[in-house]
Symmetry: C2
Subunit: 377 residues, 2 copies
């Protein structure tokens, strides 16, 4: 890891071997169950990462912003699902992408949303493909699979300007569980309710070609995928401490870490001060309510080995406070002198990665590449 | 606010009248007490904001990264304090700025840090100006004002390659208080201990020209500034809900808000779904432990009027959950239809602003400007 000694800190470091292993694991899981994988690229917002997913077998991508759709379309991805209910004022940008040849799928969970899309499409002489968002766990948005509303939205889409392409759901509450049994249960619930919604639509006479489901914890927990056409998952590409606590990865799988330098000591408190604060880690405290609270992150040495019970326990904008336990008589300044480099595993890879204009990718041969990422909307 | 209807959402909106009023208030406060104001530009990272502070009377700026130093030097600011203890590997960049004519002040709180700076300076034939960070409230870094270490660091700086320029401190624990009495007490403590450290250095024969103190809550609470040369403060330029809870501003002073669009409803739960999640607000939950928990933010109408008890209570990456109370019989979809635009006041302006490549500035005449901001290190 000599290449990490020359970097400016803080830096977002990607261990490419770990990333590739995570990509292969998810792709193999979904292949084995007979569905397609449409990774959610909101985690990385970086072409080399998405490219590795596509090379491994991913078909299309999922995005959380039209900026992502525009950037990945520019990079060469045609099949893009914008997985957030469409705001009417964003239709101009979506239409522009479609006109350029992007197979962009929109999402809605309301009659008003469906109507706005169809009316816009009709006015432009364009037919938008729209998927209906299904609520399979009550955690956020979507329509109930047994609701009348589901069929009303389908009716609204069944006119000039729009076309019902399928249903999609995301059981985000899967992040709240941490046993195989509970994950299997929420995975089955996500799958079965989405399949049920598609069945109801078809029974009512609407074509519903696609059934798209997923989250990283459920995607790794399905026992079968009958009736499902594709799985979506995002954070698995890097994994993080939240996913470690959910139980779907080990700390040794986490491919993203923040490289930081020791800039001070408070020996009486057992504190190292590093130049990575919440700007470098994000304010995400996702492990706070989980079975193991990692503070702002788990600290590792420069080689990426976990330093047991060494955590970032506090963060200001550009200062991180790392709490260490030191053997009696040992001086904290000697063990971790000014300039010592550490790597910190994040609670939530999506949030931490979002703070950086680029990743420093450590390739399998130890060489280093800069991988640009974008931000904004 | 017709100009806000055409914007893509989410957007970071700056109310320039409020911002100017905040700038004038702080400048007048520090002027009245006879010190200089050196604003911390980490909050905005945007030249039009810093320019307004300088036009109002600020002298020099404080930065939290060398990227900020480079960007603001490019914009024309000469006198820059980099207020984070220096990491040895950053000396190349600091030296490059000095060679270009920047009056860059570095900070340290260790003998090893001081030695690294002096040795680098000696090797390059350059004399770095270095300020010693004083710990006046135990919240983070700095040396105790009564410590031997203070004088040891000064000795280390008193050689070829470096020069002791002053002392600086930041009583960040002031954010934990919410009464005038407690704020006055922490403000006096911050000031008196910094002045005391400077006194000890001078008694020991070291020149200590500058005594730099501050945080937004303490800067607005000092009763006098005898012995202090300058005050630093950052978040006051926008203010936020954390500062509202501390008691140094009202919600009507908060100059930064996030413009969002309603994209869905969950009527049974009283939820609006908006297209601003934690990516748009940041994960900062700074009001969680304060006297009033605002969730992820206080919701306002498009004109910026607070909607009482309407809060963003949940956030995923690009989804915000807004909890509203609706009168019996009223339909949430009719009151806040799809496409409705809302403005959300942030918990922590520094963290929220950091998520955006630009601000949408609403000028006094209602016109709109885009103000670029930068990120990274």
């Amino acid at each position: 890891m000599n290449s990490l000694n020359a970097l400016q800190t803080p830096a977002a470091v990607v261990d490419v071997q770990r990333m590739q292993s995570n990509i292969d694991r998810m792709q193999n899981q979904v292949n084995r169950l007979g569905a397609r994988l449409r990774p959610h690229v909101k985690t990385s917002k970086s072409w080399p990462v998405a490219q590795a997913q596509i090379v491994a077998g991913a078909q299309g991508v999922t995005v959380s912003t039209l900026k992502e759709a525009e950037q990945f379309f520019e990079a060469g991805v045609i099949d893009i699902l914008y997985a957030i209910a469409m705001a009417p004022t964003k239709l101009d940008r979506a239409f522009a992408l479609c006109q350029r040849g992007c197979c962009l799928k929109l999402v809605t969970d309301s009659v008003a949303g469906a109507r706005a899309i169809a009316e816009y499409g009709r006015a432009k002489g364009h037919t938008f493909e729209v998927w209906i968002e299904i609520d399979t766990d009550g955690h956020r948005s979507g329509v109930a699979p047994e609701s009348d509303l589901l069929l009303e939205i389908a009716r609204e889409l069944n006119r000039v300007g729009a076309r019902l392409g399928g249903v999609m759901t995301h059981a985000g509450s899967s992040y709240d569980f941490d046993t195989c049994e509970a994950l299997l249960q929420i995975a089955r619930q996500e799958r079965d309710l989405a399949v049920r919604a598609a069945h109801r639509l078809r029974q009512a006479g609407y074509a519903c070609a696609q059934v798209s489901i997923g989250s990283t914890p459920t995607a790794l927990s399905y026992d079968h995928l009958h009736g499902v056409t594709e799985v979506r998952a995002g954070v698995y590409v890097f994994f993080d401490l939240v996913m470690h606590n959910v139980g779907v990865c080990s700390t040794g799988d986490i491919a993203l870490s923040v490289l930081a330098s020791v800039i001070g000591h408070q020996p009486e408190k057992g504190w190292l001060i590093v130049d990575a604060g919440w700007m470098a880690m994000s304010r995400d405290r996702g492990t706070q309510k989980q079975k193991q609270d990692f503070g702002y992150g788990q600290v590792c040495d420069l080689q990426g080995n976990v330093l047991p019970s060494v955590l970032m326990t506090g963060a200001n904008q550009e200062h991180g406070i790392i709490s260490v336990s030191i053997d009696e008589g040992e001086a904290i300044e000697q063990r971790y002198p000014i300039g010592t480099r550490l790597r910190i595993l994040p609670n939530h890879a999506c949030a931490t990665a979002a703070q950086y204009p680029a990743y420093t990718a450590i390739m399998a041969d130890g060489s280093v590449e800069q991988w640009e990422r974008f931000y904004g909307w």
